[in-house]
């Protein structure tokens, strides 16, 4: 893959010790999905994100890695404004999607979340039936109304999430009766049922066993044909396996952002290399 030197439009970049590129402009190969520039975020007095500038490309898997507390989950939640739910949070900077600033006062966070879905660390299906878990959001957003449409959409979403064969005979049992891995795939089906552009995954496999983890990883590989996926992971092998691009976060900064192959074989920064080779983290 052709690596280009990053745009140096961010002043903050020059302050990076390494001087390595932290943003990529690979638009020759890929279309931009989300553009982040100079994003800063504070929890009260604590600055959790410092001058983040990243490009997230369509129909790719982008992995965010880094030690605990480095801000990768916080960054992920900036992309669909889930941080709005925390009263003490203050953000500055640009998160741009489809030419619009998502933090703009005129941006409706409900509209944003309709286009940027989310899968959480711990599987959290609604305590309703499997069918209802998937059909609820499309119905709420008026994507479907008639029963037949709903059934069709539920089947499609469950098929895409690789869960259909396991649950087709028990669609009206509670979603919480499934195993952990199945619940997580149900949550993925729920997210893709509203046909979002982007799916955010916050450590989607950290609560799962290795086999369920492998299933989810395969699924991410299939889903990236239709969706842009941004995933946070603690597991570097996972990032190496599923991601096209990887961003390494450390103490609220992006130290390195690269295509995954380069990141894991020939990292440009010392810190990323130390982390990837297991010297800390």
């Amino acid at each position: 893959m052709n690596m280009q030197v990053a745009e140096r439009e961010s002043n903050a970049m020059s302050s990076q010790q390494s001087g390595q590129p932290v943003t990529r402009n690979d638009s020759a190969n890929h279309e931009l999905s989300i553009r982040v520039r100079d994003l800063n975020l504070w929890y009260g007095q604590n600055q959790a994100l410092k001058n983040i500038s990243l490009d997230i490309f369509q129909k790719n898997v982008t992995a965010l890695i880094g030690p605990s507390g480095c801000g990768k989950s916080t960054f992920l939640r900036c992309l669909n404004r889930m941080n709005d739910l925390i009263p003490s949070v203050r953000t500055e900077g640009l998160v741009e999607m489809d030419g619009r600033d998502v933090n703009d006062a005129r941006m409706d966070e409900v509209a944003l979340r309709r286009r940027v879905g989310m899968v959480f660390q711990k599987p959290n299906p609604f305590p309703k039936s499997i069918f209802e878990n998937v059909a609820y959001a499309p119905r709420m957003h008026d994507l479907v109304s008639r029963k037949a449409e709903q059934e069709e959409l539920v089947e499609q979403a469950l098929r895409d999430a690789g869960l259909w064969n396991e649950v087709k005979d028990k669609l009206h049992q509670p979603g919480t009766s499934l195993s952990g891995g199945q619940q997580q795939r149900l949550c993925i089906a729920r997210a893709i049922a509203v046909k979002p552009d982007v799916i955010l995954m916050d450590e989607p496999t950290s609560a799962l066993d290795p086999i369920s983890t492998a299933t989810i990883e395969d699924l991410m590989d299939k889903l990236k044909k239709q969706f842009t996926i941004v995933t946070v992971t603690h597991n570097m092998q996972q990032a190496a396996r599923v991601a096209d691009y990887t961003a390494f976060f450390h103490l609220g900064e992006v130290i390195e952002y690269n295509d995954t192959k380069t990141m894991f074989s020939n990292p440009h920064t010392k810190k990323a290399e130390d982390y990837i080779t297991g010297r800390y983290g």
Binding site: N80, M82, L85, P87, V110, A111, R113, R114, G117, M118, V119, F120, K122, N124, P125, F126, P127, Y136, A137, M140, H141, T176, C187, R190, A191, V194
Partner: protein, 388 residues
């Protein structure tokens, strides 16, 4: 330095003794509480159960001309002194409503008066020697009997103990509770939803929170004064009515429902809210479709317990005039009514011996309704309890 098992055991003995002592003390406390409960219930049952039986007497009723003016004339003078005056008073009306009765006579089982009733139950009474002999005679021939007291469950209050009943008070309680529920439940739940799900955490909401908690601890009679001053004197709500009683009790129940609802909302895990927001729910949709249904069992339990508490409340209702003497059972929100605890209070103040068992009987009815309500709350909680 190491210790052998024997050395350690010797030290432990003292600790074991201490914990054994504490165990006995706490068991003793429990036993004492249980004993009082048993004493209370057996006393209530002992005094109250006879109220469910009442003396009836078989008399020859002769619907003659005199009886159209004075019911007493329809019966043999010796017997009529044993019959309840509430029946005597009915006779002229019966003849007026059904003129064919005039000139006929029939054998009827009618309520005996409370003196006969008390005599048969072995309590103090005002019967003369002659009358006692006559009652004994009639009892011998099966013309005086203790029967199940339907009157107690079908009548309103009466100055004659034998025909006093609890129904008017039960109806009054139901009407009052309907008003209380209709006001306190929606306002309480929505207040709690706002405070828990929408309100920012600032000085003002903290102040409101503290005051709601304080409201729950205010003596109930103050709510009665508030009801009197605001609802009756200012808004002109009819006094003694289930409407004003229900509104007053709603004030009292509100903090209970708010606190219970907030606890229930807080017990819904945040992961559910995140899931809802993640698929693009607005705050209200997340609350309505996901959080409230999960909190509902807790809300219902809290509300039922709050309602049961209000149902047993007397003091504030006395202030708004709900200790009225209500002989007729009427279903109305605006007419004067009474409630069960107020009825018990009224009966407890009656000098006649026969009202003692009415009082205890009233308490038994009130207690059974309260126990049924609390049991419903427990069943609801068990049934809808979810794990996630």
């Amino acid at each position: 330095m190491n210790h052998s098992f024997d050395e350690i055991s010797a030290q432990l003995k003292k600790r074991h003794r201490k914990s054994a002592r504490l165990k006995w003390i706490s068991m003793g406390a429990l036993g004492l509480a249980g004993l009082f409960l048993v004493l209370f219930f057996s006393d209530m049952l002992n005094k109250g159960l006879p109220a469910f039986q009442q003396a009836y007497i078989q008399v020859e009723v002769d619907y003659n001309e005199d009886a159209t003016r004075m019911g007493r004339a329809a019966m043999d003078r010796e017997i009529s002194s044993l019959v309840s005056r509430s029946f005597e008073r009915l006779i002229p009306g019966m003849i007026r409503d059904n003129p064919d009765l005039l000139g006929t006579s029939e054998q009827r089982w009618v309520l005996a008066n409370s003196q006969v009733d008390q005599y048969l139950k072995g309590h103090r009474n005002k019967l003369s020697e002659e009358e006692r002999a006559r009652v004994d005679e009639l009892a011998e021939s099966g013309q005086v009997e203790l029967k199940f007291n339907t009157t107690f469950f079908t009548n309103g209050d009466s100055k004659m103990a034998e025909s006093a009943g609890i129904l008017a008070a039960v109806v009054g309680t139901v009407m009052t509770m309907l008003v209380t529920l209709a006001i306190a439940f929606p306002i309480g739940v929505m207040t709690a939803v706002y405070l828990e799900e929408f309100a920012p955490d600032n000085r003002l909401t903290q102040l409101i929170e503290i005051n709601i908690n304080n409201l729950a601890a205010i003596p109930s009679i103050l709510f009665g004064l508030l009801g009197l001053a605001i609802f009756i004197n200012f808004f002109g709500v009819p006094r003694s009515s289930p409407l004003v009683g229900g509104m007053t009790l709603a004030l009292m129940t509100l903090p209970v429902i708010i606190i219970a609802t907030r606890t229930a909302l807080r017990s819904v895990p945040d992961s559910i809210r995140h899931a809802a927001f993640g698929v693009g729910c607005s705050r209200w949709q997340a609350v309505r479709d996901h959080v409230l249904p999960l909190a509902m069992p807790g809300i219902m339990t809290g509300s039922i317990i709050g309602l049961a508490q209000a149902m047993g409340e007397t003091a504030p209702l006395i202030i708004v005039g709900m200790v009225a003497f209500i002989p007729d059972v009427g279903i109305s929100f605006t007419n004067a009514a009474t409630v069960m605890p107020a009825q018990v209070f009224t009966w407890a103040g009656e000098p006649e011996r026969a009202f003692v068992e009415k009082t205890a009987g009233g308490i038994l009815v009130l207690l059974s309704i309260l126990i049924a309500l609390n049991a419903t709350a427990v069943v609801l909680r068990k049934k809808f309890e979810r794990r996630w």
